[in-house]
Symmetry: C2
Subunit: 482 residues, 2 copies
Amino acid sequence: MSHATLTAAGLAALLGPDPTGGDGPAYRLLATRLRTLIGDGRVPSGARLPSERQLTDALAVSRTTVTRAYAVLRDSGYLTSRAGSGSVARVPGDPIPTHGPLLSRPAGEDVIDLTYAALPATPGVLEAYERALTELPRHLAVPGYHPVGLSETRAAVARWFERRGLPTDPDQIVVTNGANAALAAVTAALAKPGQHAVMETPTYPNAIHTLRAAGTRPIGVPLAGDDWDLTSIRRTLARSRAVVGYALPDFHNPTGALLSETGRAELADIYDRAGAWLVVDETFADLALDGQQQTGPTALHGAGRVISIGGTSKAFWGGLRVGWARLPQDPDLVDRVVRARHNLDLGTPVLEQLVAATLLDDAATLVPRRVEILRAQRSALVDALRNRLPEWQFRMPSGGVNLWVTLPKARSSALAAAGTGLGLRLAAGGRFAVDGGFESHLRLPYTLPPDRLIEAVERMALAWASTAEAGGPQDPWPPLVA
Amino acid sequence: MSHATLTAAGLAALLGPDPTGGDGPAYRLLATRLRTLIGDGRVPSGARLPSERQLTDALAVSRTTVTRAYAVLRDSGYLTSRAGSGSVARVPGDPIPTHGPLLSRPAGEDVIDLTYAALPATPGVLEAYERALTELPRHLAVPGYHPVGLSETRAAVARWFERRGLPTDPDQIVVTNGANAALAAVTAALAKPGQHAVMETPTYPNAIHTLRAAGTRPIGVPLAGDDWDLTSIRRTLARSRAVVGYALPDFHNPTGALLSETGRAELADIYDRAGAWLVVDETFADLALDGQQQTGPTALHGAGRVISIGGTSKAFWGGLRVGWARLPQDPDLVDRVVRARHNLDLGTPVLEQLVAATLLDDAATLVPRRVEILRAQRSALVDALRNRLPEWQFRMPSGGVNLWVTLPKARSSALAAAGTGLGLRLAAGGRFAVDGGFESHLRLPYTLPPDRLIEAVERMALAWASTAEAGGPQDPWPPLVA
């Protein structure tokens, strides 16, 4: 199995400013921080670290500090050295158990479920169903199989891209049963089982599982704090010979990060040069919350190896299961994806496609209502957390539906377990890791009404207190998910 | 790659009565008939034939006849002998090209498309949408992800099974995006890539492709004329160690054959003994056309290794993409299938599920209307064929939507090609073969209005005449799809 290759600059970004600051010898403080990153999954187990010399330069510390820090990590089993591979991060002991997909489960009346990030329907969705129903009769006269999509829906999706500044022919659109189904079809069409797929870590858990189910082997390249470590992505692509990648540049799930215009251009260029396909998930693209202008679609860049996927679930309603893939102008490629989708399902329901077309054309009216709701909910969650759990850290996301919280202790799994007893379902940070870890993180979607979010934080504070009471090391050393 | 194992009785059934009758030496006539079966795919390339002694007994001919017939086949490359495997059928020359899935494509106004077997919506479908829409508002208040299915839809599917005499708990039902999506999910949950899957040949082409896409290796066991060759299925399961099988006992697609009650019991028992899962596709189960009583579901039999899949496409409308899997009582098994489906799509649209629940509960009223329409269309097609192409042979199917025609010459592909120029799309017999062949067969769905079917037969007669004029051998030797 191939893994990520981390650059010195990428690792320096993960370490943050002053990586040797604090009480005690510099090499030991650096080793502790590196160990935390490895134990926490931000440096994935199996990732190649930069050489001592490269890291010395990037951190502007003494060579001895880095050499001794690496030695400490090697002695404690967090680093192995292999000829030809340099230093490789390792989590000592048993492999971290794999986690299941994030699955919505029926919850009792008083259970608050924050494991998945989805909202009730936007106001206006019912009217869209009613309008679509008036168009249904003429479709009832034909068999109703449309594996590529209804022409009116493909056209509406194409217009959605046009409004975002990306010229699109309806022939480039395949309508699917949601964005995840688009990922499944595209991966089945473009990758062979056993080939690698590069993605961010943390990332959307269902994408990890869908890529694995398609037989590919995902490699997680860590986000460098709030930004993309493009050099590591480039190196990882080259070393792994991955044929496909998956990225969330538009209000990344779970972190909320947004990739800049120049970053998008560079990312597209990296995939062009690697001769690999980049699947960009634009599920959250419409949900800019601070009135800012939308960043242009990633497919504006590069020489035609970017495939955009998206759907109506986040901006409108998850119960409407319509998604799409926008492919480069290449009828043969469209044909391959349609054939692959046909092995998974034979088409998207006609009425749902009509509803989606209506909603997309009304997006300029409907999405602002959604944004308004999300802003209020984000405020409620943020205020409640600052009030009740002030030691929890997070960056205010400028879009999407998630807060990515850094806990003061690496106890995300214990917190989620404690929550269960208090009528609270939480997705621990590890759920979002390609190779395990993220035990000091937690994804909190602000997809419930303010009063529910406030109540959720109350329960979280209780759960957090109970995990702290349970004892255990007070130092920042991360207990591993054994 | 493993293949079917044919019993002497199964092969005798395929050969039909008097396999050595006609002008010329008996061994040569037998060899010609065997060659036709192999070239035509009814005996799949790679299938193990019975020993000479077994076949001699089954046919009640002289041992010399069989020995010499096998020798002729060996000399002409249609049979190979391998130590430990006995005699194996082979098509000489290049492997037969694989065919794509049956995909609905947009057709011009005057093109008659008989490549897929689907009808316009049944009268009553629009009303079901209208009724479902009145139930939608309460669902809009929640996120709308239901990877297992809405409880009301699961209950309606369970009632559908109950009415067919099979006690079913709603917890046994997973609602999917059509029957094919149910097959994809069940296969992903129960079979590992590389394992074998046993199915009938001919069979539903999209099932072949879905099983292949899931990484399994389909093995086709030929139908013995109008019946199932259960002994060959048993032997093939044992030899291939297949973990999963797929069967169409209810108005088999494409042949229309119906497996008897005792046959179903035996089939279920065979899978029990093999420790394999049998996926029974009941897509056509509701469509008994001659007023006969429905045969009970196959899952009534055996010790719990039968999984029933079905959907609303054939009985109601294909544009409503709702299907299901009915699993044995085992929460763990249900969980595995739900997780596998979650990697393909995240759930079935809420409104579609509400429509399906309504339609299933109204099936007793609505399905007879569908049956009435199909009976009229079947008559129109049958009459037109008998009139215009009296040399084409078929058995009148007692249910389903397809006629399986035996052409007087093995020219199905040429006929389909000639049809294209005449505004007629046909699915040649080879599309339904697991391992190629069926060149003297053609599936004709009676899913269009009578006038369109009559016009289709006119065009077919023209296309057929043009392929006959094109010359070629007049003897029954099958030209191979090279």
